[in-house]
């Protein structure tokens, strides 16, 4: 979820990370009726010394470095938006400024609520997040679908970074985990793997591959 905000704009990427070493984890639990829980984690703790140093500055490369208050306000705004989103409940967030880890989680009545949330965030950030990724789940056929298109804007802006800065993104990862109450019959993304108990699908990829479009997050997962 946070990944989509992240990819939507390189400016946001710089503002959020201001460093190239980070992890994004997206965990979605889906029950057989289509309701579930989503949790997103942005973990900058590997770069915490740099982030702490940069947050002492007012701006970097002409981009304003957000203060803790601003980040907290942004998170509060996101939480408020989520709470107003139809089908979304139990919204919780946490900002750990000692380790620079942001966590956001909520329940959804059906997978469509996630898409509604994406659209709301698109409006807030004035960017086309919802154009990059969508979810679908059909309880009758028990098929979970994620559609993903790499952001061309992010790719273009990323190309503006100097070569050595690009390489530094080698240590940035995106992990998505889908969990189901029913066993998985099949999944179609070659970079994803199925757990031995057949109830979870995980895809872990470098941010570079994701930005450059080498990794596609699209998947169709059929359940028993």
């Amino acid at each position: 979820m946070l990944k989509r905000i992240f990819l939507s704009s390189i400016v946001l990427m710089l503002v959020f990370s201001l460093s190239s070493c980070f992890d994004i984890v997206e965990e979605i639990n889906v029950q057989s009726n289509g309701a579930g829980k989503v949790k997103a984690i942005l973990n900058l703790s590997k770069s915490k010394t740099k982030v702490a140093s940069l947050m002492l500055l007012d701006s970097v490369n002409g981009i304003k470095v957000p203060s803790k208050t601003t980040i907290q306000k942004e998170m509060n705004d996101i939480v408020l938006l989520l709470r107003k989103t139809k089908g979304v409940s139990n919204v919780n967030s946490n900002l750990d400024f000692n380790n620079y880890i942001a966590t956001l989680e909520c329940n959804f009545n059906n997978v469509a609520a996630l898409n509604a949330f994406t659209k709301t965030l698109s409006a807030k950030f004035k960017t086309n997040i919802s154009g990059y990724t969508t979810y679908a789940y059909d309880p009758s056929s028990k098929v979970f679908v994620r559609k993903y298109n790499a952001s061309q804007d992010a790719k273009k802006e990323f190309a503006k970074l100097k070569g050595e800065n690009q390489k530094a993104f080698n240590d940035a990862y995106f992990t998505s985990i889908y969990r189901f109450s029913d066993p998985v019959k099949s999944q179609q993304n070659s970079k994803a793997s199925l757990s031995p108990n057949r109830k979870a699908v995980m895809l872990r990829t470098g941010m570079l591959d994701l930005i450059n479009g080498k990794t596609n997050l699209s998947n169709t997962i059929s359940l028993n």
């Binding site: 740099k50 970074l161 100097k162 757990s195």
Partner: protein, 688 residues
Amino acid sequence: MNTKLFFATLFFLISLSHVNAQNHYKKLPADINFLATFDTKNLFQLVDAKDVNATLNKLDFFKKLSDSLSQEVHQIEDLGINLASKSYVFTRLTDSVTFIGALIPLVDARRFQAFIPTHKKIHVVDGLQTIYSVDRSIRVSWDENTAYVMTGVIKDNYLDREDVKTRFGLTANPYNSYYGTDAMMAESVDAAEDATYEYDYADTLVASVEDTAVDIVIDSDENDMVIDSTVVMVDDMDYVTDTVTEIMIDSYEDYDTITDNSVLDSIGYSIYEDQEDSYQDETNTAYYQWLAQTDSIKGSILGGWINTEMSNIISGTYKSFTAPKGFTKKSNKGTVAHYWVRSVDELYQNFMPTGIIEQAFGIGSLSKLKYGYEQANLSLDVDENKMKLHGTLGLDRETARIFKKIYGRKLNSKMYKYVDKDALGFLSFSVNSEAYLKYIPQYIQKYYGGFMPKYQEAFSIGATLFDIVVDEKAVGKVFKGDNLFVLNGVTMQEITYTDYEYDEDYNYKQIEKTKMDEIPQLLWMFSSDDMRLFEQLLALGVRQEEVVQEDGIYKIGKLSRQFSNFYVLMKDGIVFLGNDENQIKGIKNNTYSANIDRASKKVMRKNRFAALFRLNKVPALMEDLEVPMSKDFDNLRADLAQYGDFYMTSPGMKGNSFQGELGIEFPNKGENALYFLMDLLERMAVAK
């Protein structure tokens, strides 16, 4: 040409002119209190006029100017300004007005006149060609050699005086008497109060919004010095008043029915509302009439004063300004501008809204608030690729005595050896903490007590109490007052971070890992003759298991989670606090050897305050810290790598003056800093 552009260009030209300096200097009144001197002779020795013209051409300055004028302008010389003399901007204060004037040397008055907007009517006043701004608050006159500019700001507290109001026919603001004197208004308020009581409704809010546009046409004779209130032609004013009244009554259950006028009528509310409207309309009308009349009178007064002031200067009626002791009359060959203030305290008084502050805080006269700041001199110099602003601030004898004591301590010379020539920057600050603690309460009592007589005694008691409670000598031993903070490049440090571990079902748990990372290396040093306090505090930390002591070095882990550990060492009368264990160990074992450069050592030795930042180290630091940088910033990065130092220094007191300097070393690309700045402007214009 629009008038704004004309006056903006005029002030730009002030900084570019260069004439027979001595003649103009003599025109300055003896009692001016601020003087800015622009030395264009020096300026055009530093930069060739041809190069300035080329830059201005690239910035389209002449094109825009030509478009606004009736004739083509291709170079600065076309404007008739003499580029071989000094020009001056000055202020003169009286109890009623602040005059702001300028003297610009001319070489060709005809060219200068051609630069006047064609729609401007040129008058002859005091035998000189003259133009006025529309509101007559600016007058420009010129002869063959000089353009004179004069404007002024009238002082409100002067116009508030009753004798002044009577003399000029100024009346009171009708709003001030709105609630206090109007009998009918009082009745309506009573009626509203009755209604409130009878129906017991609370939280009634009446909000009024007035959008009012007033057009005022005033026709007054420019030379008319007689103030006549009839100069305001009320007939020429168009009032457009649109009043919207919104009523909200919260305590009724059904809000909609309450906002219905018939219901309001039934409870008598309309009495208040209607009368409020009626009185607001009347008062608004009266207010705008009063405002127009007052503005007109003020404008006439000011216009007259400006005319008189200008006439006195042109005719040489005033005694000439003579440079007081301490005034830097003769500039260095690199000085392009010099600023002088007769009394900084007086300047504060003049520009501080004293009346408002006094009323708002209920304090005494702010005119008694004196910091002891006297004459100030400030020069802007170009020294090859360096540009610097340096100055002095004179202090009265008592303040100078206190400041000399406070800034009497030098930086501990043992600290120099810990500053490497490759350090990103350093900041040193030295005061005598014993003197500081002793004199500051006295200083506050002396200078702040004066304007708050009610609290004079409290200030005195506070100062005495502070003196009794705080043992300055003891504190002065613990913190002697000299500090040195060094920001070196980066250093490798082991840091902990949070990662995730997944089991075979992809359930994850947070784990703590460590890695080596580059972080900025910080070192803070201060002198202490009595370290028992720190030893006891650190011993307490050890007992609480917050601090680890190992071989005389204290490691504090929780001081900052982000920057990992901090290390404390006490050695040779210096307390060291740093985040690089190896550096602290090296200091302890005498194996740390920084390679200090002579210039940095000199800066630290000579100054009580010094901040130096090596700008050319910034790009490398950003790369070391792996901060993502866009290619768009390549030019900036390349420029930064060629910059020298940015610094702020103060040697403290010299005689009775406080000294200071601020400077920046630009890339050594062109002939001097000005050429670099012109190049930068051109590049910025191209980038746009």
